[in-house]
Symmetry: C2
Subunit: 109 residues, 2 copies
């Protein structure tokens, strides 16, 4: 026991959970926000922005990448990271749909 039972849920549910999970850590939220704040992709820089050690940040970047939230291109001896809009759009449309679904309800609570 201890592992998530992904096989019992739909692909869509797993997909949303994966993206949400990647954003389930403040450092990763901060990374995404920083990528948006600066007006272009980032080569380096992230390590100086966050109060975490370099290996920790590298690990967080990897998770964001695995979840499809960011893309990374090798650019000389540094790596150019930027947001993958598809994942963000997926989340946005998902929550928009949910919000819309909520408005029709007569909530009893």
């Amino acid at each position: 026991m201890g592992a998530t039972k992904t096989e019992n849920f739909t692909d869509k549910q797993n997909s949303i959970a994966t993206i949400a999970k990647a954003l389930g850590h403040p450092a990763r939220v901060a990374i995404i926000e920083y990528l948006i704040k600066v007006d272009t992709c980032i080569c380096g820089d992230i390590v100086n922005e966050l109060p975490l050690a370099q290996p920790t940040i590298s690990q967080h970047l990897k998770e964001l990448k695995n979840a499809g939230l960011i893309k990374g291109n090798i650019e000389g001896n540094s790596i150019c990271y930027c947001i993958d809009e598809k994942a963000i759009q997926k989340l946005q449309s998902y929550f928009s749909k949910i919000s819309a679904g909520l408005e029709k309800k007569n909530n009893c609570c």
Copy 2:
């Protein structure tokens, strides 16, 4: 080590991360979707809908509640759960803002 360093991030970042983390598990996504699908709040029922044991579901419900995603009212000997729209709206507006921020960029990747 091992614990998230929340004190190094802004309240907003921690707040988004907390809500996202709560949705970072397919069972909890499924619970939210089920609460939306049925046209009212749920008293009971959730345990029969999901392929997990009752204590596990109870635990997931607790996490969704702690994150502010659902509300629960005691209703006789069962509990009436429903979605807390505020949390969903918070996420939706957050991702909308991010999406909007992305459109202005000239992404290099």
